[in-house]
C-alpha cells in the first residue's frame, strides 16, 4: 500500500559563503582556540522547512502550494529521499519516482538510446523493464534516427521530449512532480499532456508542486500550503486554493 508520511520534519541549509567553505578557516578556527572559533564561525543557516507533518495515502493527489522560496522544491526533495531532514522522520512505502527538472541530468555526449538506459536505471528500472519500454519511448519521442546520435546534437525541444518520454514511462507507487514538467512545442503539448495524465493515474500517491491553479485543480484532490517553510494549511484542494488566493490577494490584487 503506497503511502508517504512526514513527522515533524525540519530542514535547514547551512550557507557556506566563499570564505567559510574553505578548510583553512576551520583549521584556523580550531587552532586559535575553541571560544573565539565558535564565535568567528557564524554559521548562517536558512530554515527551509519547519515542523512539517502530513500523511498521504493511496489515491491522494496532493498539491503543494506556496510562494517562491516557500519550500516546495525542498519538500519534494525530502519526500524523494534526496535531503535527509535535520529532525523528524520521513516514511515512504513504495517506489518513489521524482520528476523534477527533467531536462537536467541528461548526458549530452551519450546517444538518445544510451540516455534512455541511464535515466531508466537511475529511476530504478531494471534492464528488462527498460528494453521492454524502449520501443514505446522511442516512438513517443519521434526522434527516429536521432536516437543513435549524441544528445548534444538535439534541439532543446528534442531533449525535453526524450527526458519526458523516459521519465514518464515508469510505474511509480509515489510520484513526485515539480512544475518544471512543462512541455515546449505546441504539437508536443497535447501528447505530453495525455502521457502525464496516464502516469498520474497509474501512480499510487502523487505530489505536485506548481503555481498553475488550473493544473493543480485538474490533477489534485488535496493540497498543502507552505508559508516560509511551515505548513499553513492542509485540506481539500478547493479550500486550499481559496485560502491561498486570499493569502495572495494583498500582493496580486488583480488576478
Amino acid at each position: 500500500m503506497p503511502s508517504i508520511s512526514l513527522q515533524h520534519v525540519d530542514v535547514s541549509f547551512p550557507i557556506y559563503e566563499g570564505v567559510q567553505r574553505s578548510l583553512r578557516h576551520v583549521v584556523m578556527a580550531t587552532s586559535t582556540g575553541g571560544r573565539i572559533a565558535s564565535d568567528s564561525r557564524h554559521r548562517v543557516v536558512v530554515e527551509a522547512l519547519k515542523d512539517v507533518s502530513f500523511v498521504a495515502d493511496r489515491g491522494d493527489r496532493l498539491a503543494l502550494l506556496g510562494h517562491n522560496g516557500a519550500g516546495k522544491t525542498t519538500l519534494l526533495r525530502v519526500l524523494a529521499g534526496i535531503y535527509e531532514p535535520i529532525r523528524g522522520q520521513v516514511i515512504a512505502e513504495g517506489r518513489v519516482a521524482p520528476l523534477f527538472d527533467i531536462s537536467l541530468g541528461m548526458d549530452l555526449d551519450a546517444t538518445g538510446y544510451e540516455n534512455i538506459r541511464i535515466r531508466g536505471l537511475y529511476l530504478g528500472m531494471t534492464e528488462a523493464e527498460i528494453s521492454a519500454q524502449t520501443g514505446e519511448i522511442a516512438e513517443f519521442t519521434e526522434l527516429g534516427q536521432f536516437l543513435h546520435m549524441p544528445a548534444r546534437t538535439y534541439s532543446l525541444g528534442m531533449r525535453t521530449r526524450l527526458a519526458f518520454g523516459v521519465s514518464t514511462s515508469i510505474t511509480p507507487d509515489i510520484l513526485l512532480l515539480d512544475e518544471g514538467i512543462g512541455a515546449v512545442d505546441a504539437n508536443f503539448v497535447e501528447r505530453a499532456d495525455a502521457r502525464l495524465k496516464a502516469l498520474i493515474e497509474r501512480s499510487g500517491v502523487m505530489v505536485l508542486a506548481s503555481h498553475s491553479m488550473s493544473l493543480l485543480r485538474r490533477f489534485c484532490n488535496k493540497a498543502l500550503v507552505l508559508e516560509h517553510g511551515a505548513v499553513s494549511f492542509i485540506g481539500s484542494i478547493d479550500e486550499a486554493l481559496g485560502a491561498y488566493a486570499s493569502q495572495r490577494e494583498p500582493i496580486t490584487e488583480k488576478s
Partner: protein, 247 residues
C-alpha cells in the same frame, strides 16, 4: 535496481570520452607508453640499471601509479561531478564512488598492453607469481573505494581538498619508488617505508614482474586497506545524508 548502474556509467564514460577519436582510450596508453620508453632510457643510465631489468619494472610502476593517482584524484570529485543527478534522483550515492573505481580499472586493462609489450620485448616470463597480481589490484581498488568515501565526502564539504590532494599526489610520485627502486637508495629512508602507496604498489608490481611479495608486504597492504575502509565507511555512514546539501 541500481545494482549495476555504476558499471554502465563507468563504461559509458570511457566510451564517450573518445567517441570521436580513432584510438579512443588507447590515447592514455599511448602517452604512458611514450613516457615509459623515454624515461626508461634516461633513468636506467641515471640509476645504472640494465634496461632489461629496469624497463619492465618502470612500465609496471607507471601503470600502477596511473591507477592509484587516477583513483585518488577522481574520487575527490566523485560527488561534485554528479551534483545534477544527486539533486534530481535519489539513487544510492555509492554509485558515484564505484563508477570512478570501475572506470579506472578499465583504463588499467588498456594500459596492461604496455606491460605485455615490455615483457615480450625482453623475453621475460612472470611465471606463477603473476596470478597474485589480481589480489594486489583488488587491494588498490578497495583503497580507491575508501578514497571515495573519505576524499569524496570531504571534497563535497571543503572545496580546497581536490587541489590539495592533486598537489600531494604529484609530490607522492617522487617519494614513491615508481621511477626508482628502494634498492637504489644507499640507506633506508623512513619517507619510503612509511609511505602506504609503496606497499600497495609493490603488491601489484612484484607479482607482475615474477616475484611473490613477502608476507609482511601483504600484511601491511591489507592493514592499510582495512584502516582506510574502516575510516571510509564510518565517515560515509556519518555524512552520507549531508552530501546532497553540500554539492
Amino acid at each position: 535496481m541500481h545494482s549495476h548502474l555504476w558499471l554502465v556509467l563507468g563504461w559509458l564514460e570511457i566510451k564517450q570520452r573518445y567517441r570521436r577519436s580513432k584510438i579512443g582510450p588507447f590515447w592514455i596508453t599511448l602517452s604512458l607508453g611514450i613516457m615509459v620508453a623515454a624515461s626508461g632510457f634516461i633513468y636506467s643510465r641515471l640509476l645504472g640499471s640494465e634496461l632489461r631489468d629496469y624497463l619492465p619494472s618502470l612500465a609496471v610502476g607507471l601503470i600502477i601509479w596511473q591507477l592509484m593517482s587516477g583513483l585518488i584524484n577522481e574520487e575527490c570529485g566523485a560527488f561534485l561531478a554528479a551534483e545534477g543527478i544527486i539533486k534530481q534522483i535519489p539513487a544510492p550515492l555509492s554509485v558515484h564512488i564505484l563508477r570512478v573505481v570501475w572506470k579506472n580499472l578499465i583504463i588499467l586493462a588498456h594500459n596492461m598492453i604496455i606491460y605485455v609489450i615490455a615483457m615480450l620485448f625482453y623475453f621475460r616470463n612472470p611465471g606463477f607469481a603473476f596470478f597474485l597480481a589480481p589480489f594486489g589490484v583488488a587491494l588498490v581498488a578497495l583503497n580507491g573505494l575508501a578514497c571515495g568515501m573519505i576524499l569524496g565526502v570531504l571534497s563535497a564539504r571543503f572545496r580546497d581538498i581536490p587541489p590539495i590532494i592533486a598537489n600531494a599526489v604529484q609530490l607522492a610520485f617522487f617519494i614513491t619508488p615508481v621511477l626508482w627502486k628502494p634498492e637504489n637508495l644507499k640507506t633506508r629512508l623512513l619517507i619510503v617505508e612509511a609511505n602506504p602507496l609503496y606497499y600497495l604498489l609493490e603488491v601489484v608490481r612484484k607479482p607482475l614482474l615474477g616475484e611473490a611479495p613477502s608476507l609482511s608486504f601483504w600484511a601491511i597492504a591489507i592493514g592499510i586497506t582495512a584502516v582506510n575502509l574502516t575510516l571510509g565507511f564510518s565517515l560515509f555512514a556519518r555524512f552520507r545524508g549531508r552530501i546532497a546539501y553540500w554539492v
